[in-house]
Symmetry: C2
Subunit: 433 residues, 2 copies
């Protein structure tokens, strides 16, 4: 395909949706992809670029001149345009912005770049349909036709007063049904949800989900209408949030993907492994402290991996349930009540598991006391691991720290150490050494 | 509040959005919540009930008569209505459906109940705006006004031919701009995305996200228009999918919440813990097998928790990255290439960690050979754990099994066993015992 047969490529690609072309380009090398991007019309390529993975997009943008990038930017909605520019080096950002011809578009993108990407301002687009309360329905429809050309999807029409303050909304449906001479001020709906431009992106996602909104207007501290956020941006926020929590639980910091470089992946994974190493050395020191026991009861030491694994698993389970509950805002009641519940739950699980372990040790080792010591310790370890797994995320959440860091290696490592310590201590007590 | 001061309650609650009332009711006990539900108008309460947690909703529905439930159902869109009915016992389902007065609504709900909840049919609503290609724009607007009363949000207008087959779509914007006497067949857009009624819900979510759709029509095998799915339903699918993977990684089967009963939580957690127990017994057997060899080197045993923890952590990290990559459809290239990459990555991480461990053991134990044996084993264990963590999810995915089950306890347990086995084997080799 790549043998410079330009027309054949164009004919072929024009049949496809830009999201499909983006997938095809991701499978090509940068040179080939960049060649195709230059071949196609910027109206189409801007959409293709936005659909690509950030990494692949960056590589292609690097092969384009600032003039070419500026052309892509002209075609994009302001929110996508600002996102794409934000990925460039500061130097290239200035050059690209300078080459945008549409002055209004340029000013809007400049404004959007000033907001933090994790806030409502970072998510919003300037494209929206706004009407003045003093217009008539006819004036309004005329104005809307002009405005709607820039807006891909008209969700809601926002009504502002003379000072550009948001005062309400209007649905296309209402407009269709209203008398043409009516004033907007008599037909608009004064009840309108909105968010502050500095509101946290996750909070915006929560509000839009809770009230089933498909778009929400963004205002400044004086309620002046600045932009709007649509549900497709929120879908991305939700997905990213879920992926972040998942990675945190798996012991991966930063946002990495399977296709990132070895160095990036090492940086994301090594810190948690290091924590595991320190924990392992802690476990070593504990076991060495009980070394004297080893002479008579070597069998106890052979069960430490089992004890550590159970402590880790129980801890991860209980912390994951709490972290997920906190994220969904459905953890109610006091910390104490929750700890008592987890205690019963862990005791039940622990008792069932300990029964099996007891039978196994008694049958294979023939020592009732050893079997008892190991099983009783297992129950204690499971209960304490469950309590730690429940308490830590609740405590972090109370202190305003993201409880998700309490899952994964953090809980596993601390539970390993506590588990082994409790295990030897109880076993020693029961065996009377 | 609950002292039967009905009017005060009504006044108070009428100020709130139904999503907020749902939250308030979730904090009350069932009796109080049911009392308030009976007090309010069914137009409002049906929305409130849909916003509540499934568990809380079930409790309240249990206190209502089938007649009362049928009244709530009448107010809901068909998709929500079918979801609510599906939560009832089969016996009550029949009673409730029989008491729905609107015959069309009843037939539509019956139809929706026949689809699997994880398919497009299970997600779709029957409410949509459909126009015939032979109508004029004026006829179309008139028809739409009538239809739009049943449809909360008009996303797209679907165009069908004489046989009710989907042939295209129309945007409200286009309709606003078209001449009133034009025929729909001359203004509609023949390019329209659609999904089959039996399509998997996750695949529908993927398509809607990829093409940035806010609604998609659902058709049967003859392309007859059956219903439509809106983006808010897809948001729920995405969230549920992410939560399922997260729970799987944490070793929790089934969909449980922090507020479920102890028995439900035990059922979800015990199987994975049992797997851990079996793995722990496996580790015990391995260690016992090396018992004789290591009378001299008890110190080796003290490092088994460290080895097991590192093997588990590395395995979870690499499997999580692969599972997430597979879910996002961005794992490219062959399994072999990926395994080689993971090998280098693990070797790099392992080498850095082993250096620290070597220093620690050499300094505290004063034995170069012991330090070497433990460190070299650590590198080997980390590499093999990384390879297992990479290979298993890729292999499962190839075989058509959800790779998410390869994360969490499954990978941890198998890596524990392999890790300990490799550790002792290599240590034995180096120490020459």
């Amino acid at each position: 395909v790549q043998s410079k047969n330009d027309e054949a490529i164009l004919d072929l690609l024009n049949e496809y949706h830009h999201a499909d072309i983006a997938e095809i380009l991701e499978d090509l090398n940068t040179e080939q992809a960049s060649y195709i991007i230059k071949l196609l019309d910027s109206e189409k390529t801007s959409e293709i670029l936005m659909e690509m993975d950030e990494g692949d997009r960056e590589k292609i943008l690097a092969t384009l001149s600032t003039k070419e990038i500026a052309e892509e930017i002209e075609e994009l909605d302001t929110d996508d345009a600002a996102d794409m520019i934000a990925e460039l080096s500061e130097e290239r950002q200035i050059e690209v912005i300078a080459q945008i011809e549409d002055e209004e578009h340029k000013a809007e993108i400049r404004e959007l770049l000033t907001y933090d990407e994790d806030t409502a301002g970072g998510l919003m687009a300037k494209e929206l349909v706004r009407v003045n309360e003093n217009w008539t329905v006819t004036e309004c429809v005329r104005e809307m036709r002009a405005q709607a050309e820039n807006v891909t999807r008209v969700h809601s029409i926002y009504v502002v007063d003379g000072n550009e303050k948001l005062i309400g909304r209007l649905s296309l449906k209402d407009l269709l049904m209203a008398s043409p001479r009516a004033h907007i001020s008599t037909v608009y709906i004064p009840k309108v949800d909105f968010v502050d431009v500095n509101e946290d992106a996750e909070e915006v996602a929560r509000i839009m989900q809770k009230y089933d909104l498909e778009a929400i207007p963004v205002v400044d501290e004086n309620k002046v209408l600045l932009g709007r956020i649509t549900i497709d941006d929120i879908v991305d926020v939700i997905k990213e949030e879920a992926e972040k929590d998942y990675q945190m639980a798996a012991g991966i910091t930063q946002d990495v993907e399977a296709d990132d470089s070895i160095l990036q992946l090492t940086r994301a994974r090594l810190p948690w492994l290091f924590l595991g190493l320190v924990g392992g050395i802690g476990a070593f020191l504990i076991m060495e402290g009980f070394k004297g026991t080893f002479e008579k009861y070597a069998v106890l030491f052979f069960f430490t991996p089992l004890i550590a694994a159970m402590a880790g698993n129980v801890g991860v389970q209980s912390s994951a349930i709490i972290v997920q509950g906190l994220a969904n805002d459905d953890v109610k009641g006091s910390i104490n009540k929750r700890l008592i519940k987890e205690m019963f739950l862990a005791a039940l699980n622990g008792f069932i598991l300990a029964l099996f372990l007891f039978a196994f040790v008694w049958i294979t080792k023939g020592s009732f006391l050893t079997a008892l010591a190991i099983s009783v310790s297992l129950v204690a370890v499971i209960i304490i691991a469950g309590l730690i797994g429940t308490f830590v995320p609740l405590f972090l959440d109370k202190k305003g720290i993201d409880p998700a860091i309490a899952t994964g290696p953090f809980i596993t490592t601390s539970n390993d150490i506590f588990g082994i310590l409790i295990y030897f201590w109880i076993a020693k007590l029961i065996l009377g050494i």
